[in-house]
């Protein structure tokens, strides 16, 4: 027996496990056949989902993303403090360490109290752990009553010390002594949802304009295509910046937020419109469209009921890829001070504090919102990649 064959095959010839293996192969084969039969009648959506599930990285990313959105929606519950809660003693406090051992012995998670002491070397007042005071970190801890998502009254938080005299600052505090971790969670609601809100607007614009452009062709097509050419050939960031200057300073957080979403999606639709147009052009000569036309279906119902459903998978893929662009756009604007402004927070506006290198050098934890941003965008890209492979009917 040559050494190149697989161990299973070798065993097949050398011992009695052969029969057993054969049965196993047959069973696997039958299972695969059954799956094939089932999938042969499956809808496009189901096929896509089956292929997507094979892409392990994409599935994990999707789960993580869902988790991230879940945390963002439940920010008030998960974050130990409100986005504006201040701890005057904790300005620029570093991340609080959670200890699992006290004097060498295992202990339920707790944090030490802190007192300010003079450092004999640098002659600076520094926070020093006070090992005589211990604050246990508890789950489902009781706090002041608040409203989850502005509706459900609650008086419990996911975790905390239940004692405000010693704040639990997982990622440190900012220049006003506000808990950065809590602020990041509250900010993620703004930053993550702007992606969806923006994509929703650009989705509507892109599908309608792209559909019209592809279906009618001719002059309509030319006008829409030149508009798209124009929009993608000018530098967007300066344009976004200039447009956000038009947001009246008196507007409330939500109004500003919607204005930013609109500004971002002003451009987002172009890519989608191109995809939709290309697909519609290739589909409009199909027999079933001709059949619909002969049965005197209106233009709009042909586009809406016969053409667009055929592109659902492409639309889903495109949306997933478009969301991170929106998130990055909002972050950039807010970072420059042109987007979300205090008291509202977004990842970009949190990073504003980190604009100065000397500040970052002293308080590096102020950069942590960036980690959330990068992770979210990468996850979206992975999911988009998986979906793109799954939606491609020629992949395997």
């Amino acid at each position: 027996m040559s050494t190149g064959t697989k161990p299973e095959q070798r065993r097949h010839y050398t011992n009695t496990r052969g029969e057993h293996l054969l049965r196993r192969y047959q069973r696997a084969h039958r299972r695969r056949r059954r799956a094939e039969v089932r999938l042969s009648e499956a809808s496009q959506r189901r096929l896509m989902w089956t292929r997507f599930k094979r892409h392990r990285l994409a599935v994990v990313s999707l789960l993580l993303l869902v988790g991230l959105y879940g945390v963002a929606l439940l920010a008030e519950f998960v974050a130990p403090y409100g986005k504006l809660d201040r701890f005057p003693d904790a300005t620029y406090a570093g991340p609080t360490r959670i200890h699992l051992f006290h004097e060498g012995k295992p202990h339920a998670p707790f944090i030490y109290g802190e007192r300010v002491a003079l450092n004999p070397d640098t002659f600076e007042y520094e926070a020093v752990a006070d090992t005589s005071q211990r604050f246990p970190v508890k789950l489902w801890v009781k706090t002041d009553p608040y409203k989850l998502a502005g509706v459900i009254p609650m008086d419990r938080k996911l975790f905390g010390t239940g004692d405000d005299s010693q704040p639990l600052l997982l990622l440190g505090a900012d220049h006003l002594g506000r808990d950065l971790f809590s602020r990041i969670l509250h900010a993620s609601r703004v930053s993550l949802l702007v992606g969806f809100a923006g994509v929703l607007v650009s989705f509507v614009l892109g599908v309608i304009l792209g559909g019209l452009s592809g279906y009618f062709g001719g002059r309509v097509d030319a006008v829409i295509q030149r508009t798209i050419d124009f929009i993608i050939s000018i530098p967007l960031i300066p344009l976004w910046m200039a447009l956000s200057a038009a947001i009246p300073p008196g507007w409330s957080g939500i109004q500003t937020y919607f204005a930013i979403t609109l500004i971002l999606s002003l451009v987002g639709w172009t890519g989608l419109a191109r995809v939709v147009r290309g697909k519609v052009i290739s589909l409009r000569e199909e027999d079933y469209v001709t059949a619909a036309r002969i049965s005197s279906a209106g233009h709009l119902s042909i586009i809406g009921r016969h053409l667009l459903p055929a592109l659902t998978s492409y639309l889903v893929v495109h949306i997933t890829i478009a969301v991170p662009t929106m998130i990055l756009g909002e972050t950039t604007l807010s970072f420059l001070g042109l987007g979300v402004t205090a008291p509202d927070v977004s990842w970009g506006s949190l990073l504003q504090q980190a604009q100065d290198v000397t500040v970052v050098a002293n308080y590096p934890w102020l950069l942590t919102p960036a980690a959330f941003l990068v992770v979210a965008v990468i996850l979206f890209n992975f999911v988009g990649d998986g979906l793109r492979d799954a939606a491609d009917p020629y992949s395997r």
Binding site: P235, A245, L338, A354, V360, V374
Partner: protein, 327 residues
Amino acid sequence: MSHYIIRRLLIFIPFLALISIVSFTIIQLPPGDYVDTYVQNLQQQGGTVNAQERAALEKQYGLDEPFPVQYGVWMGHVLRGDFGNSFLYDRPVADILAERVPRTMAIALAAILFTWLIAVPIGILSARRQYSVWDHAFTFLSFLGLAIPGFLLALVLMYVVYDKTGWLVTGINSPEYRSAPWSVDKAVDMLKNLWLPLVVLAVTSAAGVSRVLRASLLDELKKQYVTTARAKGLPEGKLILRYPVRVALNPLISTIGWMLPAVVGGEVVVSKVLNLPTTGPVLLEAILSQDMYLTGALVMMLSALTVAGTLLSDILLAVLDPRIRYE
């Protein structure tokens, strides 16, 4: 060929008109107009303006006219090189543009060259060794590059450089060289400062470009002329560089089309973070203080130059690639 160039140039004219309309709309968008701001500034300095003077001012700037007329007046001035006055800097806008816009454009172009310098070897390597460790590593890096916004990369790199070496990268030249005449030292100092914005801008776009090159090179490598050349015994390195790479480089020229707007936009933000004396900080200042003539003019110049660059790259591509049909 000349037909194609003329047609592209003809499309360029309505684009320019559209850019000017968008820019003028930007000037008009914020509540209040130039006279409001002017009057406010005067009042802050203790002056007063009565209704008559106000009306005279409005007439002077044509603010009592409808939008198209105002646009016509503004455009007439712009065509004569008069972009109005920036009250933020108390200088003609045209001067500020002449000082700042060329720098932004120069940095953007240098960044594009730098992008190719990074992306071409990476693209060739990952296409030659598809699914190797290198390919996967670069794929991952390109995902990372796409996920990190330019301003963040600039911040982090600045912090790392400052933390490790104590060298604070800021501006184009260090303070002691800023007003010095040109010399070798000054040029060296400039490179010491300028590499960071270039790297930041290049990394972000190199992620995309190397993927494009990889994909087009993979297509080329499968073609028969490569097999033929190999069968004839051409050394592998020579073969790759001389034939498939040359063909696959063509899409790179067309990437200028989408890279230029992105790089110019990125430059605006990065230069704000790194405090470069280009358009970025000026644009942000102008927007925050509602200096709308400056804002509009900056957006217009940046957009017009970007569109012109895209046009040039299209024509260049048509000249270089004989396969492109001009209809």
